[in-house]
């Protein structure tokens, strides 16, 4: 690896690597390139073994110099992974298993024939699709933060440079600090970590003082069920590093800190590797590219505390303390890490910055709505066909997100709600499907953009139970510094438990709302201030479900155990006795009723001793057991 002494050195390397990168994509180097998805879900399905097996076959065929195999970042369409994508043909193989490696190499790479059985099947049209670009899931997406994720080898800095890395940084270096901030302001980029504060404004708050200043990247990603930041860090770590360097240059920082969840070992390892390569090339360190700009990047790991995603708690955690929030003001921009001016930005925010500098503010601002520019990455999860990672322009409607991209709700179930903003957010319902995704729009509808977790719920989810789930999470994670949050959320959880246990009263609902208001206004940090939101939002949209729990003593979705029962339909029961055999409390017995057309007498559940384990329902072959 060359040491780059000047901007010209970098530009020369960039031109050279761009040629290699282009040749790889369009095949003009005469080689085939296979990229295997190495994202979280695919890795857990052993995608690394696919790569190893492919390499074995290639070695056996003596093709190692004609075909390369890389492990790339998340391809997004996680529910159809692991993937293998072939360049230059743009063929995408889905649901690939390690044992498929040989067939792909022998049939496709050597034989030039498509392995039909591994192609993506579009469920709507029931037809096989060969090219990634033709799959409906990808059609409405626009990749800025996820640019090059799943395309480049995340461990190879030269390839990233060939794909455009550091062009934004070079342009920033040619501008004054204030101009860089102005460019980011003009782009309309707002913080992707949740609150949506304009990034350029935040940078402009840093005072022009001598001495140490810091830029911190918030990679704590605490929203349970969200994996956007992880995917960016794993798929294109240099984009975030470059964003941090540009931010560091703009505010006059001498060092940057990454704070990453310890639960993300792959992201940590890729970041470490990328930082090391950048250091070796002289892109980090003293007098970078001969411009006099000194900048170093350090890495700190979280230790499992959700509140550390809050920026002041995060700073305390970097300082080796308990991760408890600090009162604001002073804001971090004035007094942050070790009392010095500090900017905290989210991973996705920083990943957008190189694009803004490389392509210009106008290119970024072209996408989106009036007040929300660019794109947003979402982790689509829950009851949705295409579980995965998507990046859509702001202004996309929820309907497009859930149905056109997400493929709708599986198993013919009915859509009930989509929760955005995680434990701080709220749910959006069928009434909101035409709403455009935009910071202010989602807030106006009682939820929020959040960091990008988007969990879809169907008719089988109980909204009271979901609200309880989030509060339980909050009670677990409240740092305990202030009493409205520490005690208030506990009281709310007790009330919700009372309701789901079947002991609630209508007064409890008033008390929930009263407590919620007090917690929101009196908590020190964002965790407490937003903790009641899931309860308030489900109360607003699904009050009838709460009432059903309290007045009718029924859980309409049959989730809350005290408010539902398992029942055997005596007409459907064929009398096989499987349920009785599997019942841990022996509370199922045979009756003397034989349904017309059946040979054996049907069974019956005595609800008194039923512990609602559900065994009977899962073993019954004719579906005679149901929840009521």
């Amino acid at each position: 690896m060359d040491f780059l002494k000047t901007v010209e050195d970098l530009q020369q390397l960039s031109a050279k690597c761009a040629g290699c990168f282009k040749a790889k994509i369009d095949g003009s180097d005469g080689k085939k390139h296979i990229v295997i998805c190495g994202g979280g879900a695919c890795a857990s399905a052993n995608s690394e073994q696919i790569k190893a097996n492919m390499l074995d076959v290639l070695k056996e065929k003596d093709l190692l110099d004609k075909v390369t195999v890389d492990l790339g970042g998340c391809f997004g369409l996680c529910s159809s992974g692991p993937f293998a994508k072939i360049y230059p043909d743009d063929t995408l193989y889905t649901l690939v298993k390690p044992e498929d490696a040989r067939e792909i190499i022998e049939k496709d790479i050597i034989g030039g024939e498509i392995v039909e059985r591994l192609l993506y099947v579009d469920p709507a049209a029931n037809k096989k699709i060969k090219k990634e670009s033709e799959i409906p899931f990808y059609k409405k997406q626009e990749k800025i933060a996820l640019n090059n994720c799943g395309v480049i080898d995340p461990e190879n800095i030269e390839e990233a440079i060939g794909a455009g890395a550091f062009k934004g940084f070079v342009r920033a270096l040619s501008m004054g600090r204030k101009e860089v901030i102005q460019e980011v302001l003009d782009s309309g980029l707002r913080g992707r970590g949740g609150a949506g504060f304009p990034t350029g404004r935040k940078w402009s708050f840093v005072p022009d003082v001598e001495g140490d200043k810091y830029i911190v990247c918030n990679g704590d990603e605490g929203d349970p069920g969200a994996f956007m930041d992880r995917s960016v860090l794993e798929g294109n770590p240099l984009a975030v590093i470059e964003g941090m360097m540009i931010g560091g240059y703009a505010i006059g920082a001498s060092a940057g800190y990454f704070y990453v969840r310890a639960e993300y070992p792959v992201a940590v390892q890729r970041l470490k590797n990328a930082i090391k390569q950048a250091e070796e090339m002289g892109l980090l360190g003293d007098n970078i590219l001969g411009t006099g700009f000194n900048f170093r990047i350090n890495l700190r790991l979280g230790a499992g505390a959700f509140v550390c995603g809050e920026e002041t708690a995060l700073l305390n955690s970097i300082e080796g303390k308990r991760g408890m929030p600090r009162p604001r003001p002073p804001f971090p921009a004035v007094s942050g890490l070790w009392g010095r001016p500090t900017v905290v930005n989210n991973v996705e925010t920083l990943a957008c910055v190189p694009y803004v500098l490389r392509e210009g503010a106008a290119a970024f601002a072209k996408l989106g709505t009036e007040k929300s520019k660019g794109t947003k990455v979402f982790a689509l999860g829950g009851k949705i066909t295409n579980v995965g990672l998507v990046e859509v322009p702001m202004g996309t409607t929820l309907k497009e997100l859930i149905y056109d991209i997400g493929g709708g709700i599986p198993n013919g179930k009915k859509f009930k709600a989509i929760q955005t903003g995680g434990p701080s957010g709220g749910c959006l319902t069928a009434e909101d499907l035409d709403a455009e995704i935009d910071y202010d729009n989602l807030v106006a509808r009682g939820s929020m953009m959040g960091s990008g977790g988007a969990i879809v719920m169907d008719e089988d989810n109980c909204m009271v139970d979901v609200a309880k789930f989030y509060l339980d999470f909050i009670c677990d994670e409240s740092c305990g510094k202030c009493s409205p949050c520490r005690i208030g959320t506990k009281r709310m959880l007790e009330l919700l438990t009372k309701i789901t246990d079947g002991n609630g009263t209508m007064e409890d609902l008033d008390e929930l709302e009263d407590l919620a208001a007090k917690i929101k206004t009196n908590s020190l940090c964002g965790l407490g201030q937003t903790a009641p939101n899931p309860v308030l939002s489900t109360l607003a949209h699904f009050r009838d479900e709460y009432v059903a729990h309290i007045v009718d003593k029924k859980c309409p979705a049959h989730v809350c155990k005290n408010l539902m029962e398992y029942v055997i339909d005596k007409e459907k029961c064929i009398g096989c006795g499987m349920c009785a055999k599997n019942c841990p409390t022996s509370t199922i017995s045979q009756t003397d009723y034989v349904a017309p057309g059946h040979k054996l007498a049907s069974y019956h559940i005595d609800p008194l001793n039923c512990v609602k384990c559900g065994n009977c329902m899962s073993v019954c072959k004719v579906g005679a057991v149901s929840k009521q």
Binding site: P224, G225, K321, G323, G382, G388, F473, S618
Partner: protein, 160 residues
């Protein structure tokens, strides 16, 4: 680890030395110790205190604040049941309840024979295969309640 043996003392001192040049190294030191030994008992905290000059009270405060640090040793097999939102809405609670029922311990506890610990985790990034369970790094996807028994038995057999 009632008394620290010499090798352990040496290693912990070495871990403290690793971060000598860092401004505020405590969380990093504790992470390395947790990784190495699986837990951070009081004796170790005292040793770290001696080495770094940070008070035991402060170290104890940090150890008990973060869920990654543990005061007690964990089981040979740590069953991490994801209770992140994506897993929860797909029935993860029933899965963890089943592990609890079979092993007779609650989340966060370890069986008397030291074989299993159940941990409730918040999203391991395998949301597309929810509900997800990880056991010592191996991910089990789309776990159904009636598969739990077989999974436990596999490890019980492996242990003998």
């Amino acid at each position: 680890m009632a008394h620290l043996n010499e090798a352990a003392v040496k290693q912990i001192e070495e871990i403290c030395d690793r971060y000598k040049n860092e401004n505020t190294p405590l969380v990093m030191i504790l992470s390395d110790i947790q990784k190495e030994y699986g837990y951070i008992p009081l004796e170790v905290q005292e040793l770290v205190s001696e080495k770094t000059g940070i008070s035991v009270a402060e170290i104890y405060g940090v150890v008990t604040f973060y869920s990654f640090f543990s005061l007690k040793p964990k089981g040979k097999y740590v069953i991490g049941c994801c209770l992140g939102t994506a897993c929860y809405v797909k029935g993860a609670q029933q899965v963890i309840d089943k592990f609890s029922e079979i092993l007779g311990i609650k989340a966060g506890e370890t069986t008397d024979d030291g074989l299993f610990t159940i941990d409730a985790l918040r999203c391991i990034g395998a949301c597309s295969v929810a509900p997800a369970v990880t056991i010592n790094g191996t991910v089990y996807s789309k776990v159904k309640v009636d598969e739990v028994k077989g999974i436990v038995e596999k490890y019980q057999k492996g242990a003998n």
